[in-house]
Amino acid sequence: MQKSTQSFFDEMQLDVVDLDESRVRQIYSAYQNWLKDIPLHQLESKRQEAELLFRRVGITFNVYGEEDGAERLIPFDVIPRIISANEWEKLSAGAIQRVKALNMFLHDIYHQQDIIQAGIIPSSILANSQYRPEMVGVDVPQQIYAHVAGIDLVRTSESQFYVLEDNLRTPSGVSYMLEDRKMMMRLFPDLFRRYSVAPVDHYPQVLLKNLRAVAQTSNSEPTVVLLSPGAYNSAYFEHAFLAQQMGIELVEGTDLFVRNNAVYMRTTQGPQRVDVIYRRIDDDYIDPLVFNPNSMLGVPGLLSVYRNGGVTLANAVGTGVADDKATYIYVPEMIKFYLNEEPLLENVPTYELSKEEDLKYTLAHLHELVVKEVQGSGGYGMLVGPAATKKEIEEFRLRIVSKPANYIAQPTLALSTCPTLVEAGIAPRHVDLRPFVLSGKTVTLVPGALCRVALKEGSLVVNSSQGGGTKDTWVLEAGELEKTQLSENSCETKQVTTIKTEIKTKQKAKQKTIENIVEPAC
């Protein structure tokens, strides 16, 4: 077993070498109490059981270019990430505030452009390739652009969280939030008796309600569909899962066609009008008549119907301009400008390499910075200075110099770690957190998130395309458990006993909650 590295904040602060329980963070103490009686091989067999179940249910993704049914699993870790009710309150308020401002920004940038006139964001943003002139002057229902937003958060200390990036196009991963929870409840039902974990499985219902609310046609029972690129897309499982949970049709581009300013799907009983499309296809592929003409995934003529209000797209077209890494820098300013509030969540300090002095600084400190491509995603096209070889740094330097405006740089953050089951045993691995913010009549999020974990020792890249895994994220319900934890950690054992007694007395009520939450995992 490995000793946790002291320079990183650990979510649990488990010290497996000293077995010193007093250092374990309060919210994990009941978990630690449980964990110490569980032999490692038993955890490992639970992990294998989870893998088997995921395979059976088909929670897999295709790898492009690999034949013969090569489907992969995103690794699942059996040790949860636990977040206290207090922490969650802060994070969710911050994420909601951010998404509100981003939606207002999107409306503004496609209409009056006040924020440019106020001199807060430079007009060069209009030249961004993600800015869609086709959307100028188009009114979207309730001025919601990002119906679903994934806000990537990282933590560096007990109190310090940063927003790493906003995902406003077709953010994915929410199915893992839901499936990981189901899996944990199946594997470790007893843990859910020790902890009062806030339920997350109403997410699809909230999303469906929001989607129905943005229909612009007079239909009182609007038809909502999920538009997927198809079974060979890496996120196909998620598309199928969400469509099933919401009870809506999962369609592909060829299932839809445009006629008389309306979108129809081809059914065995003839054409049927579609009012709202929850699309999981990027802007570029959605309408070959307007964007990429080679796209086989989209629907010819869709954009024109959309612009005329014949159908609603979620997310709206053109949201990419707001989650671009070059725009990211201005989000705190947006919050002040549109909401007249102080940002609740901080941005990572960012160097814009289009600026002379930032470029100079960055080139001199490449070995300690993270450099990202402005339009890159999925962990591709980035340099992690401290982990890179000299050769990699020099190659990247040439790329930066040739097109500085394509890059931003950030200090290498000391991402928090969370104990994770790896081959050698339980060891700290770096994690991030992606809560999903839903915008409808109100802006909300279910108390949970996708927690991604970098499984390679020391790695800071958590993306699944780069070998990252996922963990279930437990947001604890506010209540008795929480209150006890607010006191000092000096009398650990006593507290654990207190918590246990309280749980016992509340057990009946809780069991009921659990029964309501538990669904058969398959």
């Binding site: 049914g69 198809g230 079974a231 099933q244 049709e249 999962l250």
Partner: protein, 315 residues
């Protein structure tokens, strides 16, 4: 429902049924090969299996002469043979995956588990004792598939298209099997009733799970025309042509509703022939002619179903 969804469900069911029938043919041929003097040669024994699958030419091109090991591999595992069990099951699973939303999770997981389990047979030697075990497995998975559909799916259009696929495919397979075997077993006016003959015909019956049914209904020695009657006209025999059309016709009535579609008329016509046909007349005209007509009409029916409900331009 979406036409594409209906298409995937229909073909999923067809491919599962196809795999099952292929397994039945392999199994029965294999058990024949254990009977001494059953056939003049290995080639004579295994060629009909290829004929039933309908791709002798492709086989000869790829493998040359007919021998047991090669035919078994070709029909069970060959990646390049579009009607091998491997490809049938793979296609069934791919179709299922594309519409996993439109079936119950039990149905989906059942097919997915089938595909995961299939891995244990890849690379196994099927020429020896492995073959019956493999064929039993394919049949059992197919039974399970029907059971899980029947036991869990809502009785809506999705269910109808699954059933439709099953019976169109089954009718085709039963007709082919009977045609090839009958052809082969009755060369001339030769005398029937010998021991080998008994084995042959009981094998045919077993391959469509009809051996016990035959005994029960006729309780007599096995004679070819009664086997034919059982597999063509008996509506209470679940793999017979009549039984298949008994299922197909009402499904098409219900799916078509008030629409006048050709497939509905065709099914009715085909159904009437089986319902009111007499075995004596069929034999007089020739069983082979009757069966090859049936196979053609059934193919046409499939194409018309495709045109009316499933193709992307259906609406």
């Amino acid at each position: 429902m979406l036409s594409r969804t209906a298409d995937h469900l229909y073909w999923m069911a067809r491919y599962i049924e196809r795999a099952e029938n292929m397994a039945r043919v392999l199994e029965v041929t294999y058990s024949m090969s254990l009977v001494p003097n059953a056939a003049q040669s290995e080639a004579a024994l295994w060629l009909p299996a290829l004929e039933i699958a309908g791709n002798v030419d492709q086989y000869e091109e790829e493998y040359g002469n007919v021998d047991a090991a090669k035919v078994i591999h070709y029909l069970s595992m060959d990646v390049n043979n579009p009607s091998s069990i491997y490809n049938a099951l793979r296609n069934a699973r791919e179709n299922a995956r594309a519409v996993r939303v439109d079936m119950t999770s039990e149905t989906w997981e059942n097919i997915n588990a089938l595909w995961i389990e299939f891995d244990q047979f890849r690379g196994a030697d099927l020429t020896k004792a492995g073959l019956p075990e493999f064929c039993d497995w394919v049949k059992a998975r197919s039974h399970l598939f029907r059971g899980v559909c029947f036991g869990t799916m809502l009785r809506d259009d999705a269910f109808s298209f699954v059933r439709l696929g099953t019976f169109i495919e089954r009718a085709d397979n039963t007709a082919r099997l009977l045609d090839v075997k009958y052809h082969l077993l009755l060369p001339d006016e030769e005398e029937v009733g010998g021991a080998v003959d008994y084995y042959e015909w009981s094998a045919v019956l077993r391959s469509v799970s009809a051996f016990q049914a035959y005994q029960k209904i006729f309780s007599d020695s096995i004679v070819p025309w009664r086997v034919a009657e059982l597999l063509v006209l008996r509506r209470d025999m679940p793999r017979s042509l009549h039984a298949c059309l008994d299922e197909i016709t009402p499904i098409l009535e219900q799916l078509a509703g008030r629409r006048q579609v050709e497939c509905r008329r065709l099914a009715g016509e085909l159904h009437a022939k089986l319902r009111y046909g007499k075995m004596q007349d069929i034999f007089q005209r020739g069983l082979h002619e009757f069966l090859s007509d049936f196979i053609d009409s059934n193919n046409l029916l499939g194409a018309e179903i495709q045109r009316a409900f499933l193709s992307i331009n259906a609406s």
